[in-house]
């Protein structure tokens, strides 16, 4: 257990330089963009002399490392700056969106695993059968289909043609937060984007699980298990699935990272007010404060995802703990 602690502490310390690097990159990206915090709020009547003074006062003429330090201290305090488009603090704007994206992410992950585990197991256990060919066929289609086209098709069929799901928003207008109807409406709005995204993102996990199982099936210790007199179902449940699902658990963190890319398109297409939707809006309107903040948070989520993966892996695999 001592090793386990050492490993986790060490792994967590690694994220410090990662975070520094991320913030630095995001900061430099923001600096490279035209204009500054003042540009969007300029009163055209303002005298250039006065503007210079204001710039000086706001610290906009400081050397880059002081500006970086200022920016990072306020970011840590939760102040991400002002959105010129919405005329409100970016942090406030992002918070609501983040909650929506979080639930979309959770729903997508649930659907991803609900599909991936049975499909991957079936495909891996009966590899090279007709069933396996159909499942791998599906995964190849999934790999080849761009998510934004698939999402549009889903929206058109189930949203507009069949009318089973709402076609935009995250909740029906006018429902009161906290009521049962509100929650149902939330889920209802969430379902179609989550299914669309899940159907595509799951193919990675199906393929991964399939190859893990096929790989584990050929290991020597499986022969040992058979030689002990274990039935086929026991060999699969106790040895093959268990040993193949553990790496999948570790894959979980990376799944989060993968989701981010998907949500950007899906939220936009379904008009779902999440971070991805906000990101595209802000890019189109050049609301740089929001763009950089969202990029920063996406980066943060990826770093945390990798951290979660490594810690899960060290928990489930005794061989890693020793390092």
């Amino acid at each position: 257990m001592n090793h386990m602690w050492k490993f986790s502490v060490r792994r967590m310390l690694i994220i410090i330089p990662q975070l520094l690097l991320l913030s630095l990159l995001v900061f430099l990206m923001a600096q490279a963009m035209p204009g500054d915090a003042l540009t969007g709020q300029i009163n055209p009547d303002l005298d250039p002399q006065e503007m210079q003074e204001q710039r000086e006062e706001l610290g906009l003429n400081d050397p880059w490392h002081i500006k970086y330090a200022d920016w990072i201290t306020s970011a840590v305090r939760g102040d991400l700056g002002q959105s010129f488009q919405f005329k409100m603090p970016a942090s406030e704007l992002i918070w609501n969106r983040m909650v929506n994206s979080f639930w979309l992410g959770v729903a997508t992950l649930i659907i991803t695993y609900l599909l991936a585990i049975p499909l991957g197991i079936t495909s891996g256990r009966f590899n090279d059968s007709l069933l396996d060919s159909s499942i791998t066929g599906y995964t190849y289609i999934g790999f080849a289909t761009p998510i934004f086209i698939f999402a549009l098709v889903m929206l058109w069929i189930f949203g507009y043609q069949l009318g089973w799901f709402p076609t935009s928003g995250s909740v029906a207008p006018g429902s009161d937060p906290g009521t049962f109807e509100y929650i149902v409406s939330k889920i209802n709005h969430l379902l179609l984007p989550a299914i669309s995204l899940g159907l595509i993102t799951t193919v990675n996990t199906v393929q991964y699980l399939r190859s893990e199982i096929i790989d584990t099936k050929q290991k020597d210790f499986i022969i040992t298990a058979r030689a002990k007199g274990a039935s086929e179902s026991r060999v699969y449940n106790r040895h093959i699935f268990r040993n193949s699902l553990l790496p999948i658990a570790a894959f979980f963190g990376f799944e989060i990272t993968g989701l981010i890319g998907g949500t950007v398109f899906v939220e936009r297409i379904f008009g779902y007010p999440g971070m991805g939707d906000l990101f595209i809006q802000s890019v189109l309107l050049r609301d740089y404060t929001v763009v950089t903040s969202v990029v920063l948070l996406f980066g943060l989520a990826s770093i945390l995802g990798a951290l979660i993966s490594d810690i899960i892996l060290s928990l489930v695999d005794p061989r890693i703990r020793i390092k």
């Binding site: 020597d220 210790f221 040992t224 007199g229 274990a230 039935s231 040895h239 040993n243």
Partner: protein
């Protein structure tokens, strides 16, 4: 007289390569008696491991013909359920590579416990743990309680092989198949494992089938030896007869190619050519004839059988009578049996 535990009759195990079946084990008949170590020796590709796996019915996609009688009962007709009751219980197996034979994510105790659970379901959890610890002790593992809680990667190769042996002997099997049990181990560890197997053999009453390519291991462990070449048994004899008076050209070549104290100042005997692959094997006539081209074709039989040349000493094909090494003179060949 010892009882016959296992009787293998005309066993043929074939594998499919590109739509055709090729026999890796070809018409093998052998018996294994109680309290006896039968060694099966041969080089890679001779079919010895395929034979072992056939006995345990561990092949996935092989065609098995012939009979395997375990105490008179034909195992080849067993259902999957019957096979599972046999494996790990009355018949068990030790594998070659201890580094891969254990589940890396399962505690040692659970891996031994599993074989007890499968066949001795009536044990309580506590009894099972005690039994597993006593097995670890029996195979010579110090601090068995501690090792019970460990994972395979925490043990050395020799220790892991002891665990594999503990699993194999957990339910006091009547037939124990050891497939190259010491090949992957260092020399001093190898001798310790051989000593352990010898010790277990004394107290077990089981029939042990020892599959190996190492003639030294055979000389130390076996009571009887079967030599395999190209899927067939070419010679079977008592260990003393086989090492003292080897007959088949292959057995003789094999023995004289092992470096030993006497060979230091001379050249080792070499068998010409290579072991034929499953697909390229000529199945008519004596399969060894292409390796001893200096012997006249006429001395081989058309369809060579095993002949009993002295009590319980069997040799395939009559070519052994005319076999000599090319550097020996035909007249002064070592064994003048005619």
């Amino acid at each position: 007289m010892n009882e016959k535990l296992l009787e293998i009759k005309n066993l043929k195990t074939s594998f499919r390569i590109e739509d055709q079946y090729y026999a890796a084990v070809d018409d093998v008949s052998l018996t294994v008696n109680e309290n006896e170590v039968l060694a099966i020796v041969g080089e890679s590709g001779c079919g010895k491991s395929a034979l072992a796996f056939s006995l345990m019915r561990l092949h996935n996609r092989a065609k098995i013909e012939g009979d395997i009688l375990f105490k008179g009962d034909d195992v080849t007709n067993y259902s999957a359920g019957q096979v599972n009751k046999l494996r790990g219980n009355e018949m068990s197996m030790i594998f070659q590579d201890p580094l891969t034979a254990l589940n890396p994510l399962m505690k040692i105790g659970d891996q031994i416990g599993e074989v007890l659970l499968l066949h001795k379901g009536k044990f309580s959890n506590l009894n099972r743990k005690q039994k597993a610890i006593s097995l670890l002790d029996k195979v010579g593992i110090a601090r068995p309680e501690h090792v019970y809680e460990q994972f395979p990667h925490e043990l050395s190769g020799g220790m892991r092989q002891r665990v594999v042996i503990a699993i194999a002997i957990a339910n006091d099997p009547e037939v124990l198949i050891a497939d190259e049990p010491t090949t992957a181990l260092d020399a001093t560890i190898q001798s310790q494992i051989l000593d352990l197997l010898n010790e277990l053999k004394e107290n077990m009453n089981a029939g042990i089938i020892l599959i190996t390519h190492d003639l030294g291991v055979v000389a130390e462990m076996a009571d009887r030896v079967a030599v395999m070449y190209a899927g067939q048994i070419v010679e079977v004899a008592d260990v003393h007869a086989l090492f003292g008076m080897p007959q088949h050209p292959y057995t003789r070549s094999l023995l004289s190619s092992v470096p030993n104290a006497e060979s230091v100042d001379s050249k080792l005997h070499v068998i010409q050519g290579i072991v034929p692959s499953l697909k390229n094997l000529t199945r008519e006539g004596c399969r060894f004839r292409s390796r001893i081209p200096w012997i006249d074709e006429s001395v081989h039989e058309k369809s060579p059988e095993l002949h009993e040349i002295s009590p319980n000493h069997f040799v395939r094909c009559t070519c052994y009578k005319n076999f000599y090494f090319p550097d020996e003179k035909k007249e002064d060949k070592r064994h003048g049996i005619s």
